[in-house]
Subunit: 313 residues, 2 copies
DNA sequence: GATCTGTCTCTTATTGGTAAAAACCAATGC
DNA sequence: GCATTGGTTTTTACCAATAAGAGACAGATC
């Protein structure tokens, strides 16, 4: 059976939406709600039906009005609104980065399925998508091997990242003065400055800003393979940051300053300076990541040794 | 139910293996056969049982002998030895490159499943893996869109390919004189010369040689993301060549000559010349590919126009 | 005493089936 | 006559079940 996370999330969103409406006001049309909530009309109707069942909307057909009179409505718990695929992803990343995973070990679909409480198909689908992140490998008819979040993984990742980012940064610097991207990067610069001002309290907002910044650079000369690769980066960093909180404020502050230098170089249109700033920033990001890798790769076919990660979490 | 393609292929291979043995000779041990055929002992035992059932091996337990006395054994048809995953891949590529597929059109899992005679899960699994080849895109809860084998796909593909290949070629040229790769490239050079000599009859052997050559270059400085990307190239070219036979001999001959120039440049260790030869070869490969793309991309959300592929096959 | 086979257990590949969600086709109202 | 809603059909997301294949553990054999 399909999960009804789509419905539950839509329902919660609808509650927020309705709470802005006065009592007795007309409910927007199904089509409108469908567009607003980002789901099909079928789901919208289910939401409205439930809303009606709880007395939040009244009347049928074309005359539905909001009845928000001080009612305390029960929302669906957050956990039930996240689709299975994402849940599997999260738990797998946790499992990999925090718990068991040793380079060279084999991954057992059935075991993960039991552990995560989903059918094997869900695990399979995830692993298949995850495969091209370069951390696991398939052995037909015999499961998967975890290749390890190792130093060479990080090095290889950053070699490509640097190639791509330099290429995009050059393209960005060469953009005509009239390009709308110049305004967007100016706006991002402001966001950086603002964040730096409140760094003490808001430092975990950096992750999102970081991603948006680098994607903007890449958009100067779009290439689907680069975008695709950047998904890997985003994923790795997203979970890496969640896991490794050590020195987070400090690290982010440094990164923001590097970004500002980088942005200013771009605004200055000087390719040499741009390359310098870009390289410097990536080098520091790389070093941070390397610090939390598990060291050596697995030997060919062999199970890895004890592995001293040096991580005193 | 799982398909038994593994067994059938192993059986056919075992027949070849046994036919080299004289009548009355001892059959190799299960372990040995397992290693030789690349399957588990479980499958080997099934093979032996079938072989025995058909009177090709005789005796049980530890004393099994071959009885090949002029028997005409029925092999399993080739088609039944190819695993479902591969079959889906082939048929999908056919479908995409030859038949229906128009940029912007939506892909229907259920329809493909019926058409290919497999369960939807098989299609799903394939599409998930295929996703990162950049030709399709997933719309959660609403199927997949075919983005089209367009000119911009080819251009984006080759932009990355050039970055990667130049980087690897430079690394190759900088290899120490003692590296075993120098011998391997020398050997590949010989193969090129040999193929050129018999180009009239053997021109379709180029595809394989091409792939091996570029992978050798890449192996000068291994990077899993580059390897991964090269899988895309290989796939595209594999099916592209099968589809577009136009001028094949001619094209391959040109490519071989370009390779030879490229190889000689590498052997000469002169980076400037290497880059020149590499760029020239890739440019010509790119132009060939572009000739068989479907022209424009799909507009945002719109279905593509009539599409004049200009392909007079 | 290492290799081989018989037996058993566990995992993977694949299939159908089912509820959720999307998409479609009228009919209706203003 | 266009947007809106009520029913219906199609498609996607998931699970449970099952045969094929891999791997482990003995006891048997030379």
């Amino acid at each position: 059976m399909k999960t009804d996370t789509v419905f539950k999330r839509a329902f919660n969103d609808a509650l927020d939406l309705v709470s802005d409406l006065a009592d007795g006001e007309q409910l927007p049309s199904e089509n409108r709600l469908s567009a607003r909530l980002g789901v099909s009309r079928t789901t919208v109707r289910k939401v409205i039906a439930t809303l009606a069942g709880r007395g939040i909307v009244d009347g049928g057909g074309r005359h539905r009005v909001v009845r928000s009179g001080g009612k305390q409505v029960r929302r669906f718990p957050e956990a039930e609104t996240v689709p299975m695929g994402e849940q599997v992803e999260r738990r797998f990343m946790e499992w990999m980065l925090r718990d068991n995973a040793r380079p060279g070990m084999t991954i057992n679909e059935l075991e993960l399925a039991r552990q995560f409480g989903v059918a094997t198909t869900g695990i399979r689908e995830f692993l298949n998508r995850f495969q091209h992140y370069g951390l696991i490998e398939k052995r037909p008819n015999a499961g998967w091997v975890f290749k390890g979040f190792t130093t060479s993984f990080a090095l290889e990742l950053f070699e490509i990242r640097e190639m791509f980012e330099l290429r995009s940064a050059r393209a960005f610097a060469a953009l005509p003065a009239g390009s709308p991207l110049w305004q967007r990067i100016e706006a991002l610069r402001q966001e950086h400055v603002a964040l730096l001002g409140e760094i003490e309290s808001r430092y975990h907002d950096f992750s999102d800003l970081d991603s948006r910044f680098h994607r903007l650079i890449n958009s100067a000369a779009p290439n689907r393979f680069i975008d695709d690769f950047y998904d890997i980066i985003t994923m790795i960093f997203h979970y890496h940051y969640q896991w490794n909180k050590h020195d987070e404020r400090q690290r982010n502050e440094v990164a923001i300053r590097e970004h500002l230098t980088y942005i200013d170089a771009l605004l200055g249109r000087n390719v040499t300076i741009v390359e310098l700033a870009c390289r410097a920033h990536l080098a520091s990001a790389r070093d941070t990541l390397i610090k939390s890798t598990s060291g050596q790769d697995a030997g060919p076919g062999a199970v890895a040794p004890g592995v001293a990660t040096g991580n005193a979490d």
